[in-house]
Structure formats: structure tokens, C-alpha cells
């Protein structure tokens, strides 16, 4: 039976059936509804967990680090500035191989301050040693949290997992979704049984000082764990499909890709709009398809190259930019093809930063090359705001 529910509340429900023992968070828009709902669920005793209200995201991440290290399944959520404040702890969590799950309600990064959606926050944390999964819609977002614990806690992985869902677009929108019962969740996700944790009966030292003689090996082992997760992510998606009958792809997913000459690659909620654009172009007989990047870390190099090998042209649409380089995802796809033959033409497009609307027309415009290409990869740039060093009050007012 489907429930018509806000994305954040659907996620909170999914986190609840994962039976976390410790939840810690600091409020930040647009993550708030998730943790407010979890606070309510804990207050009503629906899950037996400690909810720790902290004084900053830095402490939220530190609290779940401590609780996970003590053997308790742990959860937190944040976005943008909060994610950046956590940055030092994020690297520490992955370095200690603690399989925490965190929701990132994707949002633009300040300055200028902007609370609307893009994916600059999580994509900027790509080197932090966290697995990063991107959800397309609310059903996938809620299902992904169960998958995330199962992936992260796999003995061959033991890495934290960031479930990325677009702020507002998913977190604050209502959609009918299948919620997961406690019995079904328990059948899918076993309890957390770490081998090493802080326990007086078997004392371990965690976070030791490691010099040049062994530090590199810790990074090698993390890379190896990430590589192990490639198969685990696929396996867990299939297991989930077997039990629940829902599948969104493992590392990637495809849509009308079989005979596509032009392929649009993207991640997150914009894929719904992309699919609408593809449907309308298909009706006109154009051979267009979609490749969804579901896992950004590990980056599915092989799966992406395999899926795109028949394409002539690939458009990568992304809501983030590495200033001084350009698109992050497009750069990585180009790198994945390096040294291969039959490489399609790959064009990166930066769209939707800071919540700029992305329509079917935007996407069709990019494909037709009708967009203004004078701003490099940036789509829909407003000339009057960038070319006049001091835009007139009228121009500013017109764009407000």
C-alpha cells in the first residue's frame, strides 16, 4: 500500500526501520524535516535509540563516530555548510572504517548564501572516503537507506555511506511511496555486529599515530574496500529487488539506452526531467537515451564505459562545478574513457546551480546545441548579470 508522504518523512521512516541505536544531528535547511521526524519517532518510542542534539555538525559527526566505534548502528544527516563543517570528521570516520550512514540533503554552498538545491556539497566531498549514492526520487531515497547500511557494514567494505538526495526537490516534495515494515527491514538488514569496537572485555586502541611506515597502506586498504563495494552495491540492489520488487540500478541505471546515439548522463532528481525530455525526443524519432549515475563513489568507470560504448555523443548534466576545471562528473567520465578506442564525444553542461530551475526545454536546448555556448559549460547564464561589471538596478530587479 502506498503512502502519500513528504520525502524527508519517508526517509525518517526508512532510517527508523534500520534500527539505529544512536542518531545525532544539528538542524540545517533543507535537512531539518528528516531529523525533526526522527526526533519525534524516538520521543514516541517507535525506535529504541538515543537522539543526541548537538551544538554543531562537527559534533554531530563526532558523536556518531564515537557511537559507531562503540558498536552501535548510527545515523546523521546534514547538507552544504553542515557537511563542510563536518569535513575533518568525515575523513576521520572513513579512515577508522566506521560504516555510518548519513543523508546529505543536497544544497548549494555559500558564498553567496543560498539554501536551494545543487550538488556542490557532496560532490566536493568526493575524496573523503565515503561511498556516495544519489537518489532519483523519494522511493529510491528511502529504499537507499536500507541498502546503504547493508553496503557499508559488509565485512569487505566497512566504509561510511552518504545517501544524497536533492534538497527541497526531494526532501520537501510529497510523493506516494511504499514504506517498509519493520519485519521486512529486519529480514533484509541484519543487526550490526562489528568485529572490533570499544569494549572493555577486549580493549582496542583506535586512531593510533601511524607514521610513514604504514600510513600509505591504510589508504591502499580504503581504495581496495571501495573497489570491493562495486560488487556489493550491485549485489545489494539485486537482493533488494528480490525481496521488495524495486530496482533502480546498482552502480548505474539506463533508460532507452539500447540504440541511443545521444546519451544524457546525470545524477539525482533531475533524471525525471531528463527522462521526460528523452520521451518527447523519442516521439520525434531521435535516438536519445539516459545513463543514471547512482554511485558516484565508487565511481563506476567500467559500467559507464560499457554503457556508453555505442553512443556517438554524450551530454553530462551536473549541478556542481570544480572552479578552475569545469564539470566534476564530466571530467571523471572523460578520464574513465582515457586510453580506450571508440570514445564518444563528451560534452559537460553545468546546470541548476543554487536552485536554478531545469526544465525539459533546458535539456532539449542543450541537446540541440541551441543553448548559448559563450559561457563555456554553464547553461542558462544571464548575460546582463555577468557582462556588465555593475548591472543596472533595473537589470537586477528584473532578475529578482
Amino acid at each position: 500500500m502506498k503512502t502519500f508522504i513528504e520525502g524527508s518523512r519517508a526517509v525518517a521512516d526508512a532510517v527508523t526501520v534500520c534500527r539505529p541505536k544512536v542518531i545525532s544531528a544539528y538542524p540545517i535547511t533543507p535537512q531539518t524535516h528528516i531529523v525533526e521526524e526522527l526526533a519525534k519517532i524516538v520521543a514516541n518510542g517507535k525506535v529504541k535509540a538515543e537522539f543526541v542534539n548537538v551544538e554543531s555538525e562537527f559534533s554531530a559527526a563526532s558523536v556518531v563516530l564515537g557511537s559507531c566505534a562503540t558498536g552501535a548502528r548510527s545515523y546523521t544527516a546534514t547538507t552544504a555548510q553542515g557537511l563542510f563543517l563536518m569535513a575533518e570528521v568525515l575523513f576521520n570516520i572513513s579512515g577508522m572504517r566506521l560504516p555510518i550512514v548519513m543523508t546529505c540533503a543536497n544544497r548549494a554552498v555559500s558564498a553567496p548564501i543560498n539554501i536551494w538545491n545543487d550538488q556542490q556539497d557532496s560532490l566536493s566531498m568526493r575524496d573523503s572516503g565515503w561511498i556516495q549514492l544519489y537518489a532519483e526520487d523519494n522511493q529510491e531515497a528511502l529504499d537507499m537507506h536500507l541498502q546503504a547500511y547493508k553496503i557499508g557494514e559488509n565485512k569487505g567494505v566497512l566504509l561510511p555511506v552518504m545517501v544524497c538526495m536533492d534538497g527541497f526537490i526531494l526532501t520537501h516534495s510529497y510523493e506516494p511511496v511504499e514504506l517498509i515494515s519493520q519485519e521486512d527491514a529486519d529480514r533484509f538488514l541484519p543487526s550490526y555486529q562489528p568485529e572490533d569496537y570499544l569494549n572493555p572485555d577486549n580493549p582496542v586502541t583506535m586512531g593510533a599515530m601511524v607514521g610513514p611506515e604504514a600510513y600509505m597502506e591504510t589508504r591502499y586498504l580504503m581504495q581496495e574496500a571501495m573497489e570491493n563495494s562495486v560488487k556489493v552495491i550491485e549485489d545489494v540492489a539485486n537482493e533488494f529487488n528480490n525481496q521488495f520488487g524495486r530496482y533502480y540500478g546498482g552502480l548505474i541505471d539506463t533508460y532507452k539506452l539500447e540504440d541511443a546515439e545521444t546519451v544524457i548522463v546525470s545524477l539525482g532528481s533531475v533524471l525525471g526531467t531528463v527522462k521526460d525530455a528523452v520521451d518527447s525526443l523519442r516521439e520525434k524519432g531521435e535516438k536519445v537515451g539516459v545513463l543514471k549515475v547512482r554511485s558516484f563513489r565508487p565511481f563506476p568507470k567500467d559500467a559507464i564505459c560499457e554503457a556508453l560504448k555505442g553512443a556517438k555523443k554524450v551530454h553530462v548534466l551536473e549541478k556542481a562545478v570544480s572552479i578552475g576545471m569545469g564539470g566534476i562528473v564530466s571530467s571523471e567520465i572523460k578520464a574513465a574513457f582515457c586510453g580506450k578506442t571508440g570514445v564518444p564525444e563528451i560534452v559537460g553542461s553545468i546546470i541548476g546551480l543554487g536552485g536554478r530551475d531545469i526544465t525539459v526545454e533546458t535539456i532539449i536546448g542543450i541537446l540541440n546545441g541551441s543553448g548559448d555556448s559563450s559561457y563555456d559549460q554553464f547553461i542558462d547564464i544571464k548575460k546582463e548579470l555577468v557582462e556588465d561589471p555593475e548591472p543596472s538596478d533595473e537589470a537586477v530587479a528584473a532578475n529578482a
Binding site: 541505536k21 544512536v22 545525532s24 529504541k48 535509540a49 538515543e50 543526541v52 542534539n53 548537538v54 551544538e55 554543531s56 562537527f58 559534533s59 563526532s62 558523536v63 556518531v64 563516530l65 564515537g66 557511537s67 559507531c68 566505534a69 562503540t70 558498536g71 552501535a72 548510527s74 575533518e88 570528521v89 576521520n92 577508522m96 570499544l198 569494549n199 572493555p200 572485555d201 580493549p203 582496542v204 586502541t205 583506535m206 586512531g207 593510533a208 599515530m209 601511524v210 607514521g211 604504514a214
Partner: protein, 293 residues
């Protein structure tokens, strides 16, 4: 394997390290059923050089500024796992990790009421990085970042009063102690661990390297800090001052200062006497405030 010695020898602390002596004492009292955290700093570095460890109890070092927050998470996990009655949580940090970069996390831990004992080993500067001043460096101390010079008497600021800040949170137990009085450390740690809620103990621990003192003088110097009134020893329970270590005949601060190279400029430069007078006033104020004599 459970070690009989919960804080093993063989670590790499400097000769005469007050912090190592105090930490060993704290651990012996805390016992084996404890989970410890530590902020980045000397203690973590000299006890956990991979692949060796001095800790016979579960120990975690995460970052410089989050010892209190990590301890909060451990305590929350113990509660959720139904182990809170069996296992105590001991958070540790140096003066920088506690009073400066970690103060926010410490305040959060106090405010939320976690059942954690936080011990600050106060050696009055960032020793692990090479003796730079911290918020707990005393007035007129020469450090690497507050050097004495033609226009400087060293650290311009007074030592931040962290015990008062801790007490202002309304936590049940705040105390100071000194490595010169091991029995006092033992009694206070024992007492703190018998109380539920957040507890704070700040232990004065001389650092021969940073204080430029003789290793064999560590205890003597720590003792003089107390006897001059510069480091008063007291307890605050539920906001009330409940105990002080009396200093019947206070020693002039010169006796304390002259044993340490970090104050040598006060005895060499013109005007040093006036500066020493200011330090004497700080000691006198403590003597009066805490009714030490």
C-alpha cells in the same frame, strides 16, 4: 587481553613528563571497565605509536577538537546498548584541545548532561607542536608564539578560567588537581566516577621541555604552583565550592618562577620585578578568592 597495568610503560613521553604521571594515576583509579577518548596531543602521540599502545583499556583518538563529542557518542551508545551501568566513559585532552579548539564540544557535552568524566591535563601550552601559547598559558609566559623580547614580557593574557566555565554549566562536579598530589588525583577521580552526569577535572602537569625546567623538578614545580596560590586546588559540587587544599604559608611566586626557563626573562630584563609583582597579585587574588590560607 586485559593488561594488569592499564597505562603501560614503554611509551615515548619525555623525561619528567607530568602528563604521563597524571594519566597513569587517573587510569589506575578508573579501572578496566572504562572507555577512554583523547584529543590530539602529546598524550595520544606518546602512547599510541602504531603498532604499539600503552592503553590497557579501550581507547579512541579521533581529532583535536572533538574528544568531548566522541565521548558523548560513546556514552549514548552504551546507553542504547544497555551497557551504561557497567562501563564508564573517560574523555581526555590537553589544555589546547580542551580550552581552545575543543571548548565548544566540551560545552555541548556538559550542557547535554552526558555521564562522562572529562580530564584536562593542563601543561599550559601547545607542547606537542613545539610550545606555542594556548588559552591556558599563564600571564607573562614566554612560548614560541608569545616570546619575550624588547617589547614583550611573553604571553599578554591571563589563564582562561575553564573550571569556572565548566561550573557555569551547572554540572555536578568540577575540580582541579595537581600531579604533585597523586592522592588528591585518586580521590577526585574516584569521587567523580561515583557521580552520574558530566564531570570535569583539570590537572596541572608541568612539562620540562616547554617550561624549560629540569625533569627532576617536575613534582617540585607542580607543588610550588599550588603553594604560591598560582594553581589553586579546589572542588565545586553542584555550583558550590566544597573543598580547597589549604596553603597555610603561601610561598612567594619568585620561588616558582625561577625554576623555569619560560619565566627567565622576568629575572633578566629591567622592569621584571614589576611583572613579578603582577604575577604575585594573581596568586594573592586566588588565595583570597578560594580562602587558601
Amino acid at each position: 587481553m586485559i593488561k594488569d597495568n592499564l597505562f603501560d610503560c614503554g611509551h615515548t613521553a619525555c623525561l619528567g613528563c607530568g602528563e604521563a604521571l597524571a594519566a597513569k594515576r587517573v587510569l589506575q583509579v578508573a579501572g578496566k571497565d572504562v572507555i577512554t577518548t583523547d584529543a590530539t596531543g602529546c598524550l595520544e602521540v606518546f602512547t599510541t605509536r602504531y603498532p604499539e599502545t600503552s592503553w590497557g583499556v579501550p581507547f579512541i583518538h579521533s581529532l583535536f577538537e572533538n574528544s568531548a563529542a566522541v565521548a558523548s557518542g560513546i556514552e549514548a551508545a552504551l546507553k542504547a546498548l544497555g551497557k551504561a551501568d557497567e562501563v564508564k566513559v573517560l574523555a581526555q585532552g590537553g589544555d589546547g584541545g580542551t580550552a581552545d579548539i575543543g571548548l565548544q564540544a566540551l560545552s555541548g557535552m556538559f550542557e547535554r548532561g552526558h555521564d562522562v568524566l572529562y580530564v584536562c591535563y593542563d601543561n599550559e601550552a601547545y607542547m606537542n607542536t613545539g610550545v606555542q601559547r594556548s588559552g591556558l598559558t599563564p600571564f607573562d609566559t614566554a612560548t614560541a608564539t608569545s616570546p619575550a623580547g624588547k617589547y614583550s614580557w611573553g604571553n599578554e593574557h591571563r589563564k582562561k578560567d575553564i573550571p569556572a566555565i565548566a561550573a557555569a554549566h551547572g554540572i555536578p562536579y568540577v575540580a582541579t588537581s595537581s600531579v604533585a598530589f597523586p592522592r588528591d588525583i585518586e580521590n577526585k577521580v574516584k569521587k567523580a566516577l561515583s557521580i552520574t552526569g558530566p564531570k570535569y577535572i583539570q590537572i596541572h602537569v608541568p612539562c620540562p621541555l616547554g617550561w624549560r625546567s629540569k625533569p627532576e623538578n617536575t613534582i617540585k614545580i607542580a607543588m610550588l604552583a599550588v603553594k604560591t596560590g598560582l594553581f589553586p586546588i579546589y572542588e565545586i559540587e553542584n555550583g558550590d565550592l566544597t573543598g580547597v587544599r589549604k596553603v597555610s604559608e603561601p610561598v612567594p611566586v619568585e620561588e616558582y618562577l625561577k625554576l623555569q626557563g619560560r619565566f627567565a626573562h622576568l629575572f633578566k630584563k629591567d622592569g621584571g620585578k614589576d611583572e613579578i609583582k603582577k604575577i604575585q597579585e594573581l596568586a594573592d587574588r586566588n588565595i583570597k578568592k578560594f580562602r587558601l590560607n
